[in-house]
């Protein structure tokens, strides 16, 4: 009960700060003002947040969550990548209209580029938008809707610049005119520039990069911890997609993140990947991603020793040459690995933060 109340109070404080930011310049936003808006004393405020910067960081995290949710919904409901890009522009402008405080925060801090404690979170909010646009461009290029000559990274930076410029002039002009109609203008202008034959894309189309089948010795188990990337404010979406592209078609990827990356999960589900999310430690999530051709992950982590060892050896014995199996085992199987090597079975293992382990085995000869 007390925990629920604490959670509600935190949410109230975040909403109050966001509402105040709409009209109060960032440098004048104080904890005293926020406390007054919530209707609590300043010491009561500090029971939930240690500083003003911590409140601002929570505001950005809350906004990131909302954006994630909206982007996930967009991915689920809109199949065309170009339509998705249009939809994302719409979401960003709509969000700005509802929460002008966030726009003020993003633009002020982006212009400052100072080293605030919440700078990385803010950078990630923007880089997440950029990653989504880049992935839409890449998908549209694959479907030949947009020119393959355009660099998705450049295209995504351009649309972010267009959106931020529009928001800046909207703020300066007193937020009187509605923003939503601008969404269509912006996205049409941007998409027109990326179409084959446009000035930006040039006349001649570069041959579409063929999706080469992965190397036979490509990794069967790849692990990426994106927490350091996020700490520095970079969105890891592109890195994760690159990891998956480099994976063997029987492979399994493990991504460790400090939150549930909902848009990524929707994007991967759409590509036929099976994604399983596990909370492996406090505020740390592990995504286990298996391609549509890859064998499913077999969970042996509820079995007492030596049953996992026995099951893995039995499964490995029936593997065809080149065949792969993935297992989740109760711990790093130190004693099993030499047995596998003895039988000519290759393996990779990853120890999860909760002590369990993922083991991928494949027959070499």
């Amino acid at each position: 009960m007390a925990r629920a109340k604490s959670y509600e109070r935190r949410a109230q404080i975040v909403e109050a700060a966001l509402a105040l930011l709409a009209d109060v310049p960032l440098e004048k936003l104080t904890t005293r003002l926020i406390a007054k808006q919530v209707g609590v004393s300043q010491p009561a405020l500090f029971r939930h947040f240690r500083s003003r910067d911590a409140i601002l960081e929570a505001v950005i995290v809350a906004m990131r969550e909302r954006l994630s949710l909206a982007a996930t919904q967009l991915l689920e409901e809109t199949p065309s990548p170009v339509q998705r890009a249009r939809g994302l522009v719409q979401i960003l402008l709509q969000n700005a209209e509802v929460h002008p405080g966030l726009v003020r925060l993003v633009l002020a801090e982006t212009a400052d580029a100072g080293e605030r404690p919440y700078q990385a979170t803010l950078d990630h909010l923007v880089s997440m938008q950029r990653s989504l646009f880049a992935s839409f461009v890449r998908s549209a290029q694959a479907e030949k809707e947009l020119s393959a000559r355009v660099d998705p990274e450049v295209a995504s930076r351009l649309i972010i610049a267009l959106v931020q410029g529009t928001l800046l002039s909207w703020l300066r002009e007193g937020r009187d005119r509605p923003l939503r109609p601008w969404a269509a203008h912006l996205s049409e202008l941007w998409i027109a520039g990326l179409r084959p034959g446009s000035a930006l894309a040039g006349d001649t189309e570069a041959p579409t990069a063929s999706t080469a089948p992965p190397e036979p010795n490509a990794p069967r188990l790849a692990v990426l911890d994106v927490r350091p990337n996020l700490k520095s404010g970079a969105d890891p979406l592109e890195q994760i997609l690159a990891l998956l592209e480099g994976l063997n078609r029987d492979g399994l990827a493990v991504v460790v993140a400090p939150f549930r990356p909902k848009p990524l999960m929707a994007l991967l589900a759409e590509r036929g990947h099976r994604v399983e999310v596990t909370e492996v430690a406090a505020r740390t999530f592990q995504l286990t991603i298996v391609g549509h051709e890859a064998p499913a992950l077999i969970d042996l982590s509820e079995l007492e020793a030596p049953l996992p060892l026995e099951r893995v050896l039995a499964a490995a014995a029936s593997l065809p040459v080149g065949g792969t199996s993935h297992f989740r085992v109760p711990r790093l199987p130190r004693l099993l690995l030499p047995r596998l090597a003895q039988r000519g079975i290759a393996y990779e293992a990853h120890e999860q933060l909760d002590g369990r382990a993922i083991l991928s085995v494949w027959r070499l000869t």
């Binding site: 007492e304 060892l309 050896l313 109760p330 790093l332 990779e348 293992a349 120890e351």
Partner: protein, 439 residues
């Protein structure tokens, strides 16, 4: 744990069954012999802590059962847990012979008050430990592992070195030379190093490995493991420090350091470790567990009683509290947990060495099929009965209870030995049994 470190482990590093099993069988037979002594002498065996039979039975449990089993278990444990094999593994056969003979001579010497036998035992035990400790310590300290289990094993080995040195010094006194100081202070330090340092650290460290592995129990959080270990190091270190500094501290301070210095270790072993381990067993992922988990539960549940008896022993002059403390600590807590560990480790080792090479290639029995659960239950019943009746016998001085406890303890040791032999005799039916790694 990095994959690189894991890959360094090969099957060649794991010692064959022929290295390990003799230690376990001899350990079980020592428990049976201790039971036999108690059954033969009845209440006379447990009236004075330094009575000949009491000393004999105590050393049959501490050295005969616990030390032999722990030495045998460390040979495979060090490579598996710490990733470094124990070198000169053939020395283990010499260790077994020398320590085994040393225990026999020591018990014979102590029970018959024969200084020559005690002196011979000193040579055997000293040589046995000298052949065991350097290779084991070399592997343990060379390993890069920095887990609480690794530190626990290292500290246990240091404690073993200290307790043996002190034991040899004390045995010199028993063998006719002048005792090196106040006998009671030396006994307390010896107990602190042996029971708390060597036995306690190893039980704690190994339980952190074995309990999650065999029962899918929740890992005890790192800070709790390090706190237990820290308190253990402090409580085991203070009594010998007090004894070493005796000429400067004066008698009152020395006695306080020796008597109360062990308190942090007592708290760690008999309150904190049982609490966190029982909690982790309760919260295990797989609710249906092998009956051997009951050994852990009984042993850990006895631990607070051991702590209570230790407190009573330190504030009262009545010898029965010292006896109760020793009996509960050795038979109720340590031996119970060790018995439980053997009920899982022996079938595991035999299954791993002999049957796992055939897994997936031909039908093989499961590990549980090697040792029927009823054997484990019989062992538990005998052991728990011995502890209960023995405690009653010490508290009441009732001769029949003591003899009954002795008989039950003898039965416990024999059933354990039979269990080990029964499991050890099982081999795959096919010629593929040749895959057995040296057993």
């Amino acid at each position: 744990m990095s994959l690189r470190a894991m890959r360094g482990l090969s099957l060649d590093q794991a010692p064959p069954l022929s290295v390990v099993l003799p230690f376990f069988v001899a350990g079980a037979l020592s428990a049976a012999a201790a039971g036999g002594l108690l059954a033969a002498d009845g209440s006379a065996a447990l009236t004075m802590p330094l009575a000949p039979t009491t000393l004999g039975a105590t050393h049959l449990i501490t050295i005969g059962l616990l030390m032999l089993v722990m030495m045998g278990a460390l040979y495979p444990m060090i490579p598996v847990v710490l990733g470094v094999p124990v070198p000169w593994i053939r020395l283990s056969h010499g260790v077994f012979v020398m320590v085994g003979a040393g225990v026999g001579l020591l018990v014979a010497g102590l029970t018959n008050s024969r200084a020559d036998l005690v002196a011979a035992a000193m040579v055997g035990l000293g040589l046995g430990v000298a052949c065991f400790l350097p290779p084991a310590a070399w592997a343990a300290f060379r390993s890069p592992a920095k887990t609480p289990t690794a530190w626990g094993i290292r500290f246990a080995l240091l404690s073993l070195a200290a307790v043996v040195l002190l034991g040899l010094l004390m045995a010199r006194g028993h063998a006719g030379s002048v005792f090196p100081g106040d006998r009671w202070l030396f006994v307390r330090v010896h107990v602190a190093l042996g029971v708390l340092g060597w036995i306690g650290s190893l039980i704690v460290a190994v339980s952190w490995q074995v309990v999650p592995m065999f029962y899918l129990a929740k890992e005890v959080p790192g800070w709790q493991r390090y706190s237990v270990l820290g308190a253990l190091v402090l409580g085991v270190g203070l009594p010998p420090l007090g004894l070493l500094l005796a000429p400067w501290l004066g008698s009152a301070l020395t006695e306080a350091a020796v008597t109360y210095g062990a308190s942090p270790a007592l708290f760690a072993l008999f309150v904190a470790h049982p609490w966190v381990t029982l909690k982790s067993i309760r919260d295990r992922r797989r609710k249906r567990a092998h009956p051997s988990v009951l050994f852990f539960r009984c042993g850990l549940a006895t631990a607070p009683l051991v702590g209570g008896a230790a407190i009573l022993a330190s504030i009262s002059d009545e010898p029965r509290w010292d006896l109760l403390y020793g009996f509960l600590a050795l038979v109720g807590w340590a031996a119970m947990i060790v018995h439980g560990m053997l009920s899982r480790i022996v079938p595991f080792l035999v299954w791993f060495h002999r049957f796992s090479p055939l897994a997936g290639l031909q039908p093989i029995p499961s590990m549980n099929a090697l040792l029927p659960a009823r054997w484990t239950r019989v062992g538990l019943g005998l052991h728990a009965g011995a502890v209960g009746l023995g405690a009653v016998g010490i508290l009441t001085g009732h001769d029949f209870a003591m003899r009954g406890a002795g008989a039950l303890l003898a039965g416990t040791g024999l059933s354990l030995a039979a269990m080990i032999v029964h499991v050890a005799l099982q081999r795959p039916a096919s010629p593929a049994a040749n895959l057995d790694l040296g057993s």
